[in-house]
Amino acid sequence: MEISGIAAYLVSFFTFVGIYAILALGLNMQWGFTGQFNIGIAGFFAVGAYTSAILTTPESPWHVGGFQHPFLVGVVGAVIASALVGLLIGAITARLRTDYLAIATIGIAETLRLVIANEGWLTNGVRGMSNIDRPFSDFFQAIGLSSAMGSLIVVAAFLAGVYFLVERARQSPWGRVLRAIREDEPATAAAGKNIGRFRLEAFVVGSAIMGLGGALYAHYFGFLSPEAFLPLYGTFLVWVMLIAGGSGNNKGALLGAVVIWTIWSGSEFVMSAGLPEGYTGYAGPLRVILIGVLLQVILITRPEGILPEKAPRAIAKGRRG
């Protein structure tokens, strides 16, 4: 591969890592902090992606829209839409126990995907939506960067912002209550905390972060179809990233995104090069098995992930320092 090819690959690689890291941070707020078993990440990811796409694309005979709002409006719309979906689902499921929440969320995510696939007037169905512009591509071109490089910079900036907010949330008394709920609900209620309120807030904020990830994905990739929001890509990989990296630990979420995306995308090369003639069709399923086995190994050898959760550094000193 030529240098430019490698560079282009790295840009794409890190853009995906950044988007997945944002999803993993959203999941960390829900699962890592609060213990909410959301296996419908793909649903929020999709809501964010399609909302931003509909808000920003030019008029098309194939789907609703033609609003041509700027990128940032799309992002804000995506965050609001996915937060609203999170609020709706959270309000209904807030009182459900962990395992029931899991069933509810995967059901809703699949429902959303089927709506996207079937409501052609809204999303152009399985044929997908195209012409989604990369963020600030004119600006980046003016300063001599490719639109892909520009996307990477934008994704990195959003990732930094999300990381800052999620980490601050973790260090705050708010995050402390979430972790207490995760550890022991009756005791948290006995300590005067309104568990329903905190769980709903964590769910909504986590969902909004996932929606943001969706918007960034839409604008980087430029094309959306329901395929991209299958549970495998939208949900399963994010879970593996968080668990491998260290759930409850925001640095773990970042590290997990890097490590798992490296293995996931790297395995594509290895398998297409290494599989014997006639077996290349198995590459896809084999990669899934690889990730599944990897998850098992991590759970057995390092159940708390590569970077286990640590108590946040005290944000304030007491008399005794």
Binding site: R168, A169, R176, K193, G318
Partner: protein, 260 residues
């Protein structure tokens, strides 16, 4: 302080609590004893808002609190501990305490994001309070330990410590001495007495350890088969025929005699 008025509760065909009325006087350490299955924990859970009573009312300082949810009772000054310690296992001992204080600005996410200095100032005060409690309970050397790593007795102390992180008025203790060794038991009972004397906490506690009950509680109420069968100072309770009867077969009557 706490008035229990004609509380009854049945689970299916089992009458767990049968028309129980009693008063917990302000400033008292009131005991509740009885053989296993007498309905003590059910009564506690009804007071604490965890399960609804079939009939009857509960009053806290004259206010009807029947069926009020646990987090709301907390804000009215009624807090509780659990029979099995409910520590926040993967949080530090200090964090376990710092969760508790009410009205922390930083419990609002937007304040934590955008009013960080204010949150930090409050946090500093909360931390001081936690350090004081840890010192009071001689747990200060364990402040940064994960609560999961504490011994059973230390977890009981930590549970008690959480009640000290708010301005509680009445505290329900569900078997504060269960599974605690002698040394720690002494510490726990000292802490209860000091909190009662120095801070004016009213305690209402379930306990099986008769020595601890005799040392701490006056009056003592006895439940058996869901009903209240005796009330009074421990010395009187020990002489009560019906109470001895209720404990027969459990082997406790011998213990009760022995500690006289």
């Amino acid at each position: 302080m706490i008035r229990i008025e004609r509380i009854s509760k049945a689970f299916g065909g089992l009458q767990a609590v049968r028309d129980v009325s009693l008063d917990v006087e302000p400033g008292s350490i009131t005991g509740l004893i009885g053989p296993n299955g007498a309905g003590k924990s059910t009564l506690f859970n009804i007071i604490a808002g965890l399960i609804p009573a079939d009939t009857g009312r509960i009053y806290l300082e004259g206010q009807d609190i029947t069926g009020r949810r646990p987090h709301r009772l907390f804000h009215q000054g009624l807090v509780r501990t659990f029979q099995v310690p409910h520590e926040f296992a993967r949080m530090t001992v200090r964090e376990n305490l710092m969760v508790v204080p009410p009205a922390q600005a930083g419990e609002n996410l937007l304040q934590s994001w955008f009013r960080w200095e204010k949150v930090r100032r409050q946090e500093s005060a909360v931390r001081d309070r936690a350090e004081d409690v840890l010192e009071f309970l001689s747990l200060d050397h364990l402040a940064d330990e994960r609560a999961a790593n504490l011994s059973g007795g230390q977890k009981k102390l930590l549970d008690l410590g959480r009640t000290m992180m708010t301005d509680a008025r009445a505290v329900l203790l569900d078997e504060p001495g269960a599974g605690v060794n002698r040394t720690l038991l002494g510490k726990i009972s000292d802490a209860i007495q000091r909190l009662n004397r120095e801070r004016g906490y009213t305690f209402f506690l379930i306990e099986h350890d008769m020595d601890l009950i005799a040392k701490l509680c006056n009056p003592v109420h006895v439940m058996a088969n869901g009903g209240l069968i005796a009330s009074g100072p421990m010395a009187e309770i020990r002489q009560n025929e019906e109470v001895r009867e209720a404990y027969l077969g459990g082997g406790v009557s011998a213990t009760m005699g022995a500690s006289e």
